[in-house]
């Protein structure tokens, strides 16, 4: 398992993907930090975290797109699946590699916090809480992206598919706002990523929200493992 994790991490940075993703993430995070903190003179980073929600939606498909689709395309999955490693081990290693990539991106918040500490006193509990919340939500998005990547051998389709799904997830709030049926509205509200993320961003940590993201992550990792298993029987 550690072999796959190591290889994936090396692969991110032996191709442009790793650099583009980190650069894009840091650019936007830096941009929002300048506009919404430094420029208007506040040490409250809440607005930055809110804006980054949509950037994460776009960045994660880039991280996950090639994880399984490329293996299938170049038939390297034959090496993984005939090696003494379990399917769960393969999926977990791939997931962790994407998670580490995301964590590298999130390090930009720490840099911003340090910049703030020179001119004001930043609320570190909020910053750390947000990094934690971004990790929780990111894990869920990564699991979804991983699942989509396992369905196709085309990297572009994997990326666009994940974008599309992430967009639909982010639209859940606006859809539910226009629903006249209370039951469906309640259902959609409880599936909203954004509400839960906003709770975190405000500093409200609810166990139910944590459980929600962990459940989504585990569920989609399980689905991914099933897809790989099913392919053997096709």
């Amino acid at each position: 398992m550690s072999a796959i994790l190591k290889r994936e991490l090396a692969a991110y940075f032996s191709s442009p993907v790793g650099y583009i993703v980190t650069a894009a993430f840091m650019f936007f995070s830096g941009f929002f930090f300048y506009v919404q903190c430094l420029n208007i003179g506040t040490s409250n980073m809440y607005a930055v975290f809110q804006s980054m929600f949509f950037i994460v939606l776009f960045v994660i498909p880039l991280i996950t797109m090639r994880l399984f689709s490329e293996e299938k395309k170049y038939k390297t999955d034959q090496a993984l699946l005939t090696a003494p490693v379990s399917l769960a081990g393969i999926v977990t290693a791939k997931f962790l590699s994407a998670f580490v990539m995301l964590s590298v991106c999130l390090a930009s918040y720490v840099i911003e916090g340090i910049v703030l500490s020179f001119i004001a006193s930043p609320d570190w509990s909020v910053i750390i809480g947000n990094i934690f919340s971004m990790m929780m939500m990111g894990a869920a998005f990564i699991a979804i992206g991983l699942f989509i990547s396992s369905l196709t051998e085309n990297v572009m389709i994997a990326a666009i598919g994940s974008f599309a799904v992430n967009l639909v997830i982010s639209l859940v709030d606006s859809i539910s706002a226009n629903l006249p049926v209370p039951f469906l509205k309640g259902l959609l509200d409880s599936l909203s990523f954004q509400t839960k993320y906003s709770n975190f961003a405000l500093g409200i940590v609810q166990l139910s929200d944590v459980v929600f993201f962990v459940s989504v992550t585990v569920l989609f990792l399980f689905f991914t493992e099933r897809v790989l298993e099913k392919r053997r029987w096709a």
């Binding site: 550690s2 072999a3 796959i4 190591k6 290889r7 390297t76 090496a79 005939t82 053997r232």
Partner: protein
């Protein structure tokens, strides 16, 4: 070492493998022979646990590939039809990755360079796989399968894309490995199977059409022997001399090949080379060529595939 029982695999309505069974002992080298699409690769993919069979079992050294996949897979080195190479890694990094993936417990640096030496890719160790030629990729694929010297090696068309000198080297390597390892290799090159394997399994349309030792298959259907003879002398004299030899059933005249030399095909029910030689000498003729017209593996193979039995 390897036991395959009643393997059956369908792809939709097509049957890819139909009730295949065989057993291999330690040190056996088995050749899968069959035309394209016969089910060779499917069988190998099932044996290595890449895909699953609809029915049947595969046991490697007593470990079922489905029940104890880790234990079984540890014992297999597999070279698939398309070598599973990560395009953006160097050969060295790739082999180190595969070494860790397979949980090999030997000193890594020495082990990898020893294998690179065996398949002759030392000069490409630092190169990125994407830039390698087909022959090198194939050999990196073989190197990957050899990591950890697993007791079972499964090689799907191992010499594809190699140049003649490399083919000879790799065949020699496989023969050497066959002393200690149990090997299954597939090929559509018959002479290769003949040269490397001691057992042959001919597959077509997912069924075993023939199986046996390489020698016995080669000799299959050789009750009547044919010898080609080119001799110098007078045609009529030579012809009647050949005809008169004991146990000769038929002599076919093929005409003059060069001035004063005639070609014949002699069919007999026993080895008549000595008596033929004496008979020709009695007519003052000289034998220039005497060649047994054995049925080649190709002929046998084509007969088996087309379902002809003699």
């Amino acid at each position: 070492m390897i036991e395959v029982k009643n393997l059956t695999k369908h792809y939709g309505k097509n049957i890819a493998l139909d009730n295949i069974s065989f057993k291999l002992n330690e040190g056996d080298v088995l050749g899968f022979l069959g035309p394209n699409g016969a089910g060779k690769s499917t069988a190998m993919n099932i044996i290595t646990g890449y895909i699953s069979a609809d029915e049947g079992t595969v046991t490697i050294d007593g470990h079922d590939i489905l029940e104890e996949p880790s234990e079984a897979k540890k014992r297999i080195g597999y070279l698939p039809e398309i070598p599973p190479l990560y395009q953006d890694m160097t050969v060295q990094k790739y082999l180190e990755f595969m070494y860790r993936l397979k949980k090999v417990r030997k000193p890594m640096k020495e082990h990898i360079s020893e294998i690179c030496e065996m398949v002759q890719i030392r000069d490409a160790e630092e190169k990125i796989i994407r830039h390698l030629s087909k022959g090198y990729r194939q050999r990196v694929g073989i190197a990957q399968a050899l990591l950890g010297y697993p007791p079972v090696l499964i090689l799907d068309e191992p010499t594809v894309g190699l140049d003649p000198a490399q083919i000879i080297e790799i065949r020699k390597l496989i023969r050497d490995l066959g002393k200690k390892h149990t090997i299954i290799l597939s090929s559509h090159i018959l002479s290769e199977v003949q040269a490397v394997c001691d057992k042959i399994l001919v597959i077509n349309h997912g069924k075993i059409m023939a199986e046996g030792q390489t020698d016995s298959l080669t000799l299959l259907g050789r009750e009547t022997r044919k010898i080609k003879i080119v001799a110098e002398g007078r045609e009529q004299n030579l012809y009647s001399a050949l005809k008169s030899v004991d146990k000769v059933m038929n002599v076919e005249r093929l005409g003059e090949t060069e001035k004063g030399c005639y070609e014949f095909i002699v069919e007999s029910s026993a080895d008549v080379r000595r008596s033929v030689s004496k008979a020709v000498a009695r007519t003052d003729g000289i034998i220039l060529l005497m060649q047994p017209e054995g049925r080649s593996l190709e002929e046998t193979f084509l007969n088996i595939i087309s379902g002809k039995s003699e």
